[in-house]
Amino acid sequence: MARAAKPKASDSAPPATPNRERPPEPQRYKASKDELLELYRQMLLIRRFEEKAGQLYGLGLIGGFCHLYIGQEAVAVGLQSALTGGLDSVITGYRDHGHMLAYGIDPKVIMAELTGREAGISHGKGGSMHMFSVDHRFYGGHGIVGAQVSLGTGLAFKHKYAEDGGLCMAYFGDGAANQGQVYESFNMAELWKLPIIFVIENNQYAMGTSVNRSSAEDQLYRRGESFRIPGIQVDGMDVLACRGAGETAAEWVRSGKGPVILEMKTYRYRGHSMSDPAKYRSRDEVQAVREKSDPIDHAARELEKMGVTEAALKDIDKDIRRIVSEAADFAESSPEPPLDELYTDVLVETY
């Protein structure tokens, strides 16, 4: 399975003579040392945050469903680093902690939402799957598989309608890629040339069903072909490949050429949710990916080659562990929402 996470170049090459214009093949981003350090830091923040969330779940401090992003960090961090903060919108499904952290949202309010506290970003009323930050133009956090694709298309519609130059990045998984509304959205997005990047995070399992068992066309970047939407397959375990793809896609979309699909080949190390025993794949498979393709290790090795010392990386880790542990303390010690929160925010107005 490690193979699948790192597609051969030939797998993702466009047809020899494309019959319509395509974006250029994305180039791996050439990051400066400081840039890569920042990406590394963000990925590590997500990794440590999710590990802590897993722990708190085990302690009963987090309830319900909790879907961890461990293994997929390079996707959100790489892609979102190519966006214009404060302008471009991001929307995703229920596995949303990573995308929020990558958009600069305070880990404390995310963790406090996980523990269902008043200080949580949704005042404890959304939980793991339903978090939003309109200020950061992060539009959720949606629990219905595939819904974010139509909603994201609507956000892109807004960018075009308002002529604000922004775009929407809508993330969904290989499982959601089989939902009907995804294709309804593809059709309208291309028809109206909406500024949207459809990001398929192909972590290879829709809950317990592998892509091959659920998808007649398992090369998901091709899923837009009948709508004339170009698709690009990207190594989602390489943060700089993700960044490069994000820039190519954003340039295409912003130039008014309509949507683009990025299929990010990635892998989640943990179960679908905390309650998933993951019997559908072998421990060896997971181990092999972790050892050979881990996006954080990968970036660390590259940083070392750029002259960053092991000690410096350790300092970063220490700093992040402190941030995460403060977030956890905050989330544990914050009060639960007062009971009158029960009836607030049902409607905006009073009738």
Partner: protein, 463 residues
């Protein structure tokens, strides 16, 4: 034997139309499929095609004639070898149709339930609209035009408002409700979608989350079942789930409930479904003034609104106050007719039936108060309970299924909050608890009618 061409019924509720234009003249040879004339209904201009072959013998109704009843013979065709009436040598010299008004056979007109609902929908309120300043000029307006005017006025006021849906732009609306909007506002703001309800409901909802104010038209609410996930899971719940951060100011609108003879999949009242969902506003008006004033309020609301119209009411005319900005409050019922003996509670097309029943009951010495709920969520229980305290009896009239309905809700509210005021059990007059059948007689048996309301009222009045 000449073939008679009769004024066709081009919609289930069409009774007459305008013969806008003849495209043939006497003496022309026509074959099946040729377009003979253009006929205007209240909804659209339709082309009238030849079915039979032959020569146009005579044009009996000249173009430009208004109010041509369905079934009127408008021309005759002579078949092959038949003598045509001496074809006039000059085109356009047809006899000035001083109406050869030979008794035209009535078209086969079946008595249907929908027709009775439609006919009852001429009944109007007997009390003035409290929200309108005295002396305001009233203009007869169809519900269809009132809805269009509401949208147009709000679109003029607020750049963020746009309309999307199937056939809303170039076709001018499947039921002509969006007529003229494309011309005025252009394709950026009046948007034809593919047939893709789930998709465009999501796109509209996303656009609302992004800060626009979409009006999403469903061709009928039956098709919105494909999109109900976005209406409920995305639009209704997000404000709550986001701790009040993410608003969704959107209006989902379109016809709801039974139309005429369109059978089960096109004839359902979704009022109770949506009214059960916290986070939604649900409005279901009866007359044109409420349609206008409440749609304007819906478009301005910061909350997601499901706005349930009724196809049978679109062509009905009512008084609409001539005001620059006529907006009605959401969540307020309206007393259509005051009374003291029994309270009839209804909404949408049921209001016409309730008013007709009240009229009949008055003749029998029972003075019924008729309440139009207008908004189904939040429900104006105060108005209902106040009326109950006065009359001590309630009959709910609902064009919809009985189980888990608005009627059930009113019954529960009356029992929980008005128990001491009740002198009789609350009765429900609803459609039969079956998918709506096609056959005219069965449809009639399934839909509410005045007789059943009268019967229920007599029961609660122990008469």
């Amino acid at each position: 034997m000449a073939i008679e061409l009769k004024m066709p019924a081009l919609s289930p509720t069409m009774e007459e139309g305008t013969l806008a234009k003849w495209l043939v003249k006497a003496g022309d040879i026509v074959k099946s499929g040729d377009i003979l004339a253009e006929i205007e209904t209240d909804k659209a201009t339709m082309e009238f095609e030849a079915v039979d072959e032959g020569t146009i013998a005579e044009i009996l109704v000249p173009e430009g004639t208004d109010g041509v009843k369905v079934g009127t013979v408008i021309a005759t065709i002579a078949g092959e070898g038949e003598a045509t009436t001496p074809a006039p040598a000059k085109a356009g010299a047809q006899e000035p149709a001083d109406q050869k008004t030979e008794p035209t056979p009535e078209p086969h007109k079946v008595e249907t339930g929908a027709r009775k609902l439609f006919e009852a929908a001429t009944h109007d309120a007997t009390v003035g609209e409290a929200e309108v300043p005295e002396g305001t000029e009233m203009v007869r307006t169809t519900v269809r035009e009132a809805l269009r005017d509401a949208m147009a006025e709000e679109m003029r006021k607020d750049e963020r408002v746009f309309v999307m849906g199937e056939e809303v732009a170039e076709y001018q609306g499947a039921y002509k409700v969006t007529q003229g909007l494309l011309d005025e506002f252009g394709p950026k703001r009046v948007i034809d979608t593919p047939i893709t309800e789930y998709g465009f409901a999501g796109v509209g909802t996303g656009a609302a989350m992004g800060g626009l104010r979409p009006i999403v038209e469903f061709m009928t609410f039956n098709f919105a079942m494909q999109a109900i996930d976005h209406i409920i899971n995305s639009a209704a719940k997000t404000n709550y789930m986001s701790g009040g951060q993410m608003r969704c100011p959107i209006v989902f609108r379109g016809p709801n409930g039974a139309a005429s003879r369109v059978a089960a999949q096109h004839s359902q009242n979704y009022g109770p479904w949506y009214a059960s969902v916290p986070g939604l506003i649900v409005i279901s008006p009866y007359d044109a003034a409420d349609a206008k004033g409440l749609l304007k309020a819906a478009i301005r609301s910061e909350d997601p609104v499901v706005f349930l119209e009724n196809e049978l009411l679109y062509g009905r005319s009512f008084d609409v106050p001539k005001l620059d900005d006529f907006v009605l409050p959401i969540g307020k019922a309206r007393i259509m007719k005051p009374g003291k003996d029994v309270t009839l509670v209804s909404y949408s097309i049921g209001v016409g039936v309730a008013l007709e029943a009240a009229e009949q009951l008055a003749g029998e010495g029972i003075d019924a108060e008729v309440i139009d709920l207008r908004t189904l969520r939040p429900l104006d229980t105060a108005t209902v309970l106040k009326s109950l305290a006065k009359t001590n009896r309630i009959v709910v009239v609902e064009e919809g299924w009985p189980t888990c309905s608005i009627s059930s809700e009113i019954a529960a509210v009356a029992m929980e909050q008005g128990f001491d005021d009740l002198d009789a059990p609350v009765l429900r007059v609803t459609n039969a608890d079956v998918p709506l059948p096609y056959a005219a007689n069965l449809e009639k048996a399934a839909l509410i009618d005045t007789a059943r309301v009268v019967e229920a009222v007599k029961k609660v009045c122990y008469r």
